[in-house]
């Protein structure tokens, strides 16, 4: 069972991701901004972080930079739809800043599960925090 931190300013997306993650037997913790996500990361140990990119106060790429400084080996998935303009440049940049994977919104449940399994080692025996 892995500890997964979900950072997204959209409550609906957070809850959707939480359901998917918990259905796989992992524990999900939610944060609604990059800043609160970084705070949570400093207080608790996580195996994986899923972060949105377009967020107020601290965007996803800034969040990734902070998380990498706190834990260079943390696994990070960046998630974004590029907004109305479908501009995916910030999401594509996430890899430069240290995201292990990127996931485009709108995503399908299977895409999330597959990415989770790949990142957490198949999903059969998720590592403990």
């Amino acid at each position: 069972m892995a500890q997964v931190l979900i950072i997204d300013d959209d409550r609906g997306i957070r809850q959707l991701l939480r359901r998917i993650i918990e259905a796989r037997g992992h524990v999900a913790v939610e944060a609604d901004t990059g800043r609160t996500g970084v705070d949570a990361f400093q207080q608790q140990s996580f195996d994986l972080v899923l972060t949105d990119i377009v967020m107020p106060d601290m965007d996803g790429n800034q969040t990734i930079v902070h998380l990498r400084k706190l834990n260079p080996s943390i696994k990070i998935i960046a998630v974004s739809g590029g907004g109305r303009a479908r501009n995916l440049t910030p999401l594509q940049l996430a890899k430069q800043f240290g995201a292990d994977r990127i996931l485009e919104k709108p995503f399908r449940r299977d895409d999330v599960l597959r990415t989770l399994d790949e990142m957490l080692g198949g999903g059969q025996a998720p590592s403990a925090a």
């Binding site: 990119i53 377009v54 107020p56 106060d57 601290m58 800034q62 907004g83 109305r84 303009a85 940049l93």
Partner: protein, 405 residues
């Protein structure tokens, strides 16, 4: 203004107000006389001379208006004229005589008044004694009222040095081209609070005159700083000017006169941004304002409120770009949804969009995701004392400070 003049101001206003209200059901005529061109003309001498001017005019007023109304100073930049029992022509004649007195007193104080144009705006009081601006106009020129000249335009641009710290230039990133191609002149302090309406119409009009003076100062500053650019540094220069400045005949005349002194080389690079285009204004008004500006610039754009619901008038006036400002007191949480809706409304009308005052990386990302084509603000690059040549800029550059720390 010293205490004596302040006292005159207060007493006069109270008397005018009482007289006006006691006048009851008969409509009165109202004019406002703007002295901001006098301030521009006098520069640093203005505070001393205007004090004397108020005192001298104080002696003239009873003779001029008698029992037919009131003329009183409002602050040191305006006079309010309230007249009753008069038709328009008589009122115009009386105001012209008052303007002649202003010119005469200035000449007595050894001020050269040739070419000095003093704008007058028309309004009226309604049946309940409340001021209503029905049209913004200036008196026709006549004795003692002189048309502004080209020399005067040059003087408007050259006179009355502004405090350099009042203005700065924000870089504007053209997202599609991947280049910071323009610098937008901004005020470091807001020029006035939000627009008012109803009973505050006259007060608003007085405020508008102050804003017109500030617009002139900004144009002067922008041109002066642009002229310091090295010959090989090319960039577009965005200069905001308030819609009200261009909608009022008097203030527009002064602004256009100042524009006539813009160097030809700058006209090819200059973008006038019509600021605070009122929501619901007729397209014809916007078109008229834009048409006045086009001979002096490369393009005309519009700046509207973040939550403006309709850009129809702007689109119908042939303005290709509509922009908003993310500065101010709104939090980023509040800005993000507004950004998306702004772009959505503009794109329906095939307008390009700009957003300025972007102060953080996260807002830049949000602006990009919302689909803004032009993004300006400190997050792109620091505010500058003067414009500089265009330079390449990509999204990764937004994060440069994050990576450097």
């Amino acid at each position: 203004m010293n205490s004596l003049v302040r006292q005159i101001d207060t007493v006069s206003r109270e008397s005018a107000s009482a007289a006006t209200l006691s006048f009851g059901a008969t409509p009165a005529l109202v004019r406002t006389i703007d002295l901001y061109t006098v301030r521009v003309h006098l520069g640093v001498r203005f505070p001393t001379i205007v004090e004397q001017l108020h005192l001298r005019l104080r002696q003239d007023i009873p003779q001029l208006v008698g029992a037919n109304g009131w003329i009183c100073p409002v602050g040191d930049l305006f006079y309010m004229v309230v007249l009753w029992g008069m038709n328009e022509d008589s009122a115009t004649g009386l105001v012209q005589r008052f303007l002649k007195r202003i010119h005469a007193h200035l000449r007595d104080m050894r001020v050269e008044t040739a070419g000095l144009f003093i704008p007058v705006n028309a309004a009226h009081l309604d049946r309940r004694g409340r001021p209503r601006i029905d049209a913004i106009q200036s008196l026709e020129e006549g004795d003692g009222i002189v048309e502004p000249s080209l020399d005067y335009a040059t003087a408007l641009l050259a006179a009355a040095p502004e405090d350099r710290s009042s203005f700065a230039f924000e870089p504007v990133w053209n997202v599609r081209q991947g280049v910071v191609s323009a610098f937008r002149c901004i005020r470091m302090e807001p020029v006035s609070p939000a627009m008012t309406n109803g009973e505050a119409a006259v007060a608003e009009r007085l405020e508008t005159s102050r804003i017109a003076g500030s617009d002139l100062g900004m144009l002067r500053h922008a041109i002066a700083e642009w002229s310091k650019l090295p010959a090989d540094a090319v960039c577009l220069l965005i200069v905001p000017v308030h819609f009200d400045t261009l909608a009022g005949v008097g203030s527009r005349r002064d602004f256009l006169q100042a524009c006539s002194a813009i160097p030809a080389a700058l006209k090819r690079l200059l973008i006038f941004e019509i600021e605070r285009v009122p929501e619901g204004v007729l397209a014809g008004r916007v078109l008229e304002v834009a048409r006045h500006m086009r001979p002096f610039c490369r393009s005309v754009t519009a700046l509207v409120s973040f939550d403006c619901q309709s850009f129809d008038a702007i689109q119908r006036a042939g303005i290709p770009i509509v922009a908003c400002n993310a500065g101010g007191t709104r939090s980023e949480h509040q800005c993000l949804p507004l950004m998306e809706r702004f772009v959505e409304r503009a794109e329906k009308l095939k307008l390009l969009t700009g957003i300025y005052g972007i102060r953080s990386v996260s807002l830049t990302t949000a602006a990009l995701a919302a689909g803004f084509v032009y993004i300006g603000g400190e997050a792109v690059s620091s505010l500058a004392e003067r414009p500089r040549g265009l330079f390449k800029f990509e999204m990764a550059d937004v994060y440069r400070s994050e990576l450097d720390t």
